[in-house]
Symmetry: D2
Subunit: 282 residues, 4 copies
């Protein structure tokens, strides 16, 4: 397995797309030294965006959390979250009534800013659901799984409404040795049980990349060849970037460990353009 | 769709296997008149067994519940539950240490009678799991889904142990208009997340039918041709009975409604030998 | 089920996206009267595009086939095929060497116009595969399934290369009562067997819609709200259009029959904005 | 990974079940020295059976092929093939009419000995299918995939009949470096396309083990504890044996290589009782 220096690669691109978890930060905080990468990018006039499947908080809240950790270069405008795609869907396709959701009150931000009335499944009564015109799955916290997942199943048996999954991840790490089930994992169970087709937003889906690509299109003369997607996960970041036509760099600071990288690339057939130790530019 | 009279069919068989839910009882109690079926069977010296995917209670407790509803002919010895297969597995393959479980204390009966120490996931600490030699998924009640499903996922990442699913049903009805997620539905989510292969007991699996068949083999001269499997669900009772080589009767008092029966049989390719309005013999 | 008049709907949109098979034509030729729809659209200055998963022929050949049937308004420039996405991928991501393919020589057009050397799996020898840098699945015809599908499996075991599926349909109709397995169906089998991740282009994937959307973006002031997607298939045309944020019209001249439409919408949860008898504007 | 000596293990069991391919033979012929294992078993009065998913030939033809390779101890009576389960199904459940099949004429043996009329899909005309009462998938050879798989799909759309898959393997090795798609792989594709439920016989299904177990039940006092299942494949031989309650030995002469065994056991959660270099007893 040939490792390439991240700084050398970056020279060939005008825009860098970063995954967040495992690339910029872990459960322990920032990847040590990652601030230097963003100083370098700004000095060299390279644009950057963070593409994240995290729909639990607004871009403002996400940027604020980087700020608190000491990374001030990431501002709300350079964060593209799957929650923003869910909001666009709601704006275009669900223009009245109530939108029920699974998640915290923070995550409901994406529905509220679409101008729709929100209702946590926690508060929903199955006796009065005639105004519920969509369901959005945002976060695994903020509700009681025993009662509220059963309520969700029964809501979907009674109301034929679109269901939007704003985070497709099955799990997420909570400490060095522990993971937790993410809302994407719960979504798959409910979709199987009600046998309906949910609408998923987030990497590896092309729509996530399109959304980011359109943000930079106003800037003249940026083509797909000018963009590098950087991620730690083959089956979201890398396959998604590849399919959209971007060059991709796999970093070894998150889901894919140095000792597994080669075997995983071979067994999945998901081939990054480059493999780098990390996204840190010293 | 041609309906056949249940009494007429029964004449051709020596032993009847019944599914429980949707055939003998619903959330409302017994199917009206079903007692007469068992009187008839006893008068005519026909043997009968109840094959159920319900592992939440012991055969004794299940029989007791029929007794309370007014059906006294169903005794523990004629109940074959998927929990009994789980117990046989534990006896044969896990002969020491602790068996963790998801379910109520009642459901843990099947582990205790295998002579093993039980430990509810609710009580389990991820710091002391070195003695846990198997995990059994028994019932959707008796634990907190938020914390205990996450605990289960982390247990299975740390200990490579067999996982037994003693009820493969995804959902079960709790009232005329509501269903609940069963332990089989939760099991599928966890199996996907940990990417390991679980061991499932219950219809339509052949082992459930083998277990019942062996119970009656002591009786001389019973062949598969002499047994009728009666159920309300195509993809458990009917396909399972068919595959084991039994004749099958689909009844319309449960999961399969009269208006859907024909289209479901055509769309699934699961073909019962007979279709009957109910298993009631007037 | 409420049917809406297609002409009435069209008045509200500036651009119409059409699926081809089941909307404009069937195995019998054009849907009777469909020419009038295109006369109407041109008279009223409404733009239109045909979005098709058919990668067996070039846009020029596809347009020519409409021409021969008597529909002259469909010119190559208004055809968006999944083969064009495959070509874009090859141009961006596979810039040298040989591209192997399953399909007819006509279908190989999409690879040739990407400037790459083509090699039919029919002609490939497993002894000399070191130059093969990608595999494209284009069409179910043009090769021997017995030998060439096995050759494909062995190629993918030896070379870790991207595999592109340029038509995701599982089957296609060949006459009133018969269907045939499409390359998308064969692709699923091979993907399962080699356990690698293929890259799929075609509806319902968002990339198909963004490709069409970008074509019209040069025209000023077209927003998603101004576009109607018309299709006969819920799980490709309608869910794809919905997810991309377009209004959708289901027509009953193809895969979805009038008598099934309502039940299928309810059972899948895929809800078109409108249901119309056909796309014909009298 | 701790390796155990096969001879030492065998001492603890009265009956040995062997998988065939990868345990007794490979594409190169017999595993060197395997004859000695059977001499030892006979000298020590240990019973043995070969459980194989190979339904391409009758037990007589299979025994004959071992004989030709120099292994004379394997006689037809100790071969249990998935084809025998298919035959039992046909005898019990399909008692008249014609049974269509995919496979060679040799493989049709299992249908003929059930007393039914056979018809190769190769010879079938879709115009005269009213007498076809079942379809059996036996072997990947003996028919033209292009025409006959399409014919099969159309047959199943017109006739709602049981479909039996007598070999569940997806692939099989044909030389050191090449594999071929098995009938089980083709079966999965057709099942997906027609969306019907097929009936599968073969390991890891319990029915395969009970069939073998019943063969030896006449012998007094053999319990599950007395049987060892020996195989080279975790997801058929080992999980099937485990679930049926047998002790299992994984050998490293076939599908599972020494260098992969530990990681595969950990990643699948399928845990053999023992791991042995081979089934050869020196």
């Amino acid at each position: 397995m040939e490792l390439t220096d991240f700084k050398t690669i970056v020279a060939d691109y005008k825009v860098i797309f970063f995954d967040a978890f495992g690339v910029l930060k872990t459960y322990n905080g920032l990847i040590p030294g990652i601030q230097k990468t963003f100083s370098y990018l700004k000095e060299n006039n390279k644009d950057f965006y963070v593409l994240t499947n995290d729909a639990s908080r607004s871009p403002e809240q996400l940027a604020e959390s980087y700020h608190r950790m000491g990374l001030t270069d990431i501002v709300p405008d350079c964060i593209i979250s799957s929650g923003m795609l869910a909001r666009e869907y709601l704006e275009l396709k669900v223009n009245h009534g109530t939108v029920a959701y699974l998640g915290t009150e923070d995550s409901a931000h994406y529905i509220e800013t679409a101008g729709l009335t929100t209702l946590s499944i926690r508060e929903l009564s199955l006796e009065s659901i005639s105004e519920v015109n969509a369901l959005v799955l945002l976060d695994d916290e903020g509700f009681d799984w025993n009662t509220d997942l059963n309520k969700t199943v029964n809501l979907l048996r009674k109301r034929n409404i679109p269901v939007i999954v704003a985070n497709t991840d099955e799990t997420y790490p909570v400490s060095k040795n522990r993971i937790a089930i993410a809302i994407g994992g719960l979504a798959e169970m409910i979709e199987t049980i009600v046998a309906k087709r949910f609408i998923r937003f987030g990497k590896p889906d092309a729509q996530m990349f399109i959304f980011a690509y359109e943000h930079i299109r106003n800037a003249p003369s940026i083509h797909k060849k000018d963009i590098l997607m950087v991620g730690d996960t083959l089956h979201t970041d890398i396959i998604g970037g590849n399919k959209f036509g971007l060059d991709t760099a796999l970093v070894l600071t998150g889901n894919t460990q140095a000792e597994d990288a080669e075997i995983r690339i071979r067994s999945t057939g998901i081939i990054p353009t480059y493999i780098c130790e990390s996204a840190v530019i010293e």
